[in-house]
Amino acid sequence: MIYQGKQKIWADYQKEIPDDHWFYVRSCIRQNFFPASEKYFLKICRDMLGRDIYESEHHTTCAGIAYHCDTIPQETAMTVVARQFALMTEAGYDNLVTSCITSFGNYVEILETWREFPELEEKIREHLWKACRREFNKPKYVAHASDLVYKLRGEIAERARFQLVHRATGEPLRIVEHIGCHYSKMFPHKGVGGAEYPCVLSGMAEAWGGQVIDYPERRHCCGFGFRQYFVKANRGYSLSNTHKKFESMEPYHPDMIITNCPGCPYFLDRWQYVISEMNGKTYGQNGYGIPALTYEELAGLVLGVDPWDLGLQVHQVAVEPLLDKIGIPYDPSRKYLGMDEKKIMTPGLPTTLKCC
C-alpha cells in the first residue's frame, strides 16, 4: 500500500463543507437500530462543539427506500424531497445535512438530475405547489452528517477522552471502515475522498488514533440492497454478500467496523449472529463478533460518553471486549437499564456467537 497515493486521491476529492448553520434531516430507520446515534450527533455538534444545527419535526422520509425498492416513481421522490427543501427554506437555512446515506444519495441524485434537466425541477416545483402550497430554494450545500463529523474530527480529537488505541499494547486499533454505497459510488465528487478510496471515515479513525485496514472486499456492498433484504426469498443473497465481506476482512483481525449508513451497521452487526447460527463461524476474537459501530457512536465513545447512553447495548455483537481494549469504563449492571433506570428486557443468548 502506497499511502501517499491515497493522499493524492484524497486531495483530488475534497469537498467544501460549511462550518456551521445546518438544517438536519433524520433517517427513517436509524432511531430504531441505533437509537442514540442521531441524538449524539446533535449533542456533540451543538453542545460540545457549539454549532447551529436545526431540525424540524415536520420533515418526512425522503422516499429513498421506496424509490430504491421501485415502488414509487422518481418524480414522487423528488416532490417529497422538494418539500424537505421547502422546510429548510422556511427555516432560513441553506445547508442541508442528512443522517442517512440513502437520503444523501437521493438528494444529490435529484439535484444533479435537476441540473441536467431544469424543466424537471420546474415541474416538481409545480407539483409541490399543487400538493402543499410550498416553495423552496435549493440547498447551497448538501452534506452527509459524516462529512460534518469528518470536518470536525480535529475538534473532537482535541476534546477526546479516549484514543482508538489498544490500551495494553499501545497499538492503534485495527478498524474496518465501511461506506454506504449511496455515499459516493454514484457521484464520486460528492463524497470526501471519492468513490474508490473514500476518506470520510478513515479520516475520523486516523484522527482519533486508529488504523484503517484495506481488505480486498472493502468496496463491496454490506448486502442490504433494499429489495434483496426486504423480499424474504432474496434474503440469502443479502446474507451471502455480507458473508463475503467478513471472509475477506477476517485475516486482518479487525477490532471494529465503523460505518456511515443506516443499513450497513445493522447488517454487519446482525448477520454476524445469523452466520454464526448457520455455520458456526464467528469473526471476532475468542468467539465474539466484530463490533459494528456508527461514526456517531464512535465519536461519542472517544468523547467519553457512557456506552449505554450511546445505545451500544442494542447491538447484537457485544461491544464490551472493544471497550475493554480501549479502556472505556462501563457498568455491566446498567447495560439493560432504560432511560428511566428500569430494566428493559434482557435478550436471549445466541448458540454460538459469544455475547456478554
Partner: protein, 340 residues
Amino acid sequence: MVNRTPVIAVIGAGIAGLEAARQLKDLGYKPVLIEKAPVVGGHVAEWNRLFPDLSPAADLVQSLSKGAGSVKTYTDTEIASMGRLKDGYSLILGNGETLLCDAVLFATGFHLFDASKKEEYGYGIYDRVITNRDLEQWFNNRHDPRVANPKAVGFVHCVGSRDVKAGNTQCSKVCCITAIKQAIEIKEEFPEAEVYCFYMDLRLFGKKYEDFYIKAQRDYGIHFIRGRVSEVGEAIDGRVVVKAEDTLNGKPIKVTLDLLVLMAGIVCNPDAQHYAREIGVAVDEDGFLRSRDNVSSIVESSRPGVFYAGACTGAKTIPETLAEARSAALTIHQYFNKRK
C-alpha cells in the same frame, strides 16, 4: 517565392520527428527539430524491445537519431508560443530564440494514459500494480523491486482506452500486442509464473501479430480471459486481488496476483492541442489533431504549411509512424514544389 532553402519546424523528436527530419534533409530542406525532453526518441526510447520480432528499441532510436544527426536539434526546449505569418510560421522557443519557418510538421506524438486515473485499479496505491511503461523500464534496468519473482501476473488491456469514463473512446491499437509481447517476456523471465491477460477484444491486426498470439497461447500457456477487470483490492500479504467477469464463461472471476500490469493507452498530447489552437489548426473530438482527410490526406492539416506525422493524429504503430513520417516529408516536398 522561396529562393532560400525552406525551413521546416519539426515539433517533437520522437521517431516520427527524427525520421521526417532525416527525409526532409535528404530532400534538400532545412528541418529544425524541437524536443521538449532532454533526449530524442520519445516514448520508443523508454521501451526495451519491440513487437513482433522483439528487436531492441534502442537500436531503432539509435539508427533514427543517427539519420537525423546533422539536423539542427533543440532538446530540452519548450515552445513558448507559435504564430502565423504571411508565408510561414513563427515559433518562440523557451530559450528565447525565435524560429521563422516556412512549414510546421507536428510530430508531437501522444501521451501515455495516466493509469492512476482508473482509480479502481489502484495504480499508485497498491505496490504491485504497475504500468506497461514501468515494466519496460524494468526490462531495461531491472531495478523495480515490485517485479520480484512473481508467481502470478496479470495484464489489463484497454486501461484508459475505449473508455468513456476515462475520456477516451478510441482504441489505442498497440496495447493488445504489447500486452502479449510483455506477457511472453514475463514468461521467459519467470517460466513458472501463471500469466493472465484480461481483454475486452483482442485486436491483433498487424503482420505477425496473430502468430505472436498463438505463440503466447501454445508455447507459453498464457491465459486469456475475456473480461475487463472491474476492481483491484489488496490482499493481506500485499498481493493484489483482481476481479473481473469471465464473459465467455458468464461468471465473475477472482484471482490473486503478485503483479498487475496496466496497459495504459495512447491519449492525445495536450501540448499539441495548445500549439494547434495558436496557429488555427483543428483538433478532433478525441483530442488528436484533425487531418484534412482521414483516408487520403492523413498527414495534412487544413492549414497550408502545417503537416502531421505519427501519433499526433491518433494511435499508431511504429511502422505506421515511420511510414507517415516519410509520407509527410514527401507531402511537404510537393507543397514547396507547388509554391515555386
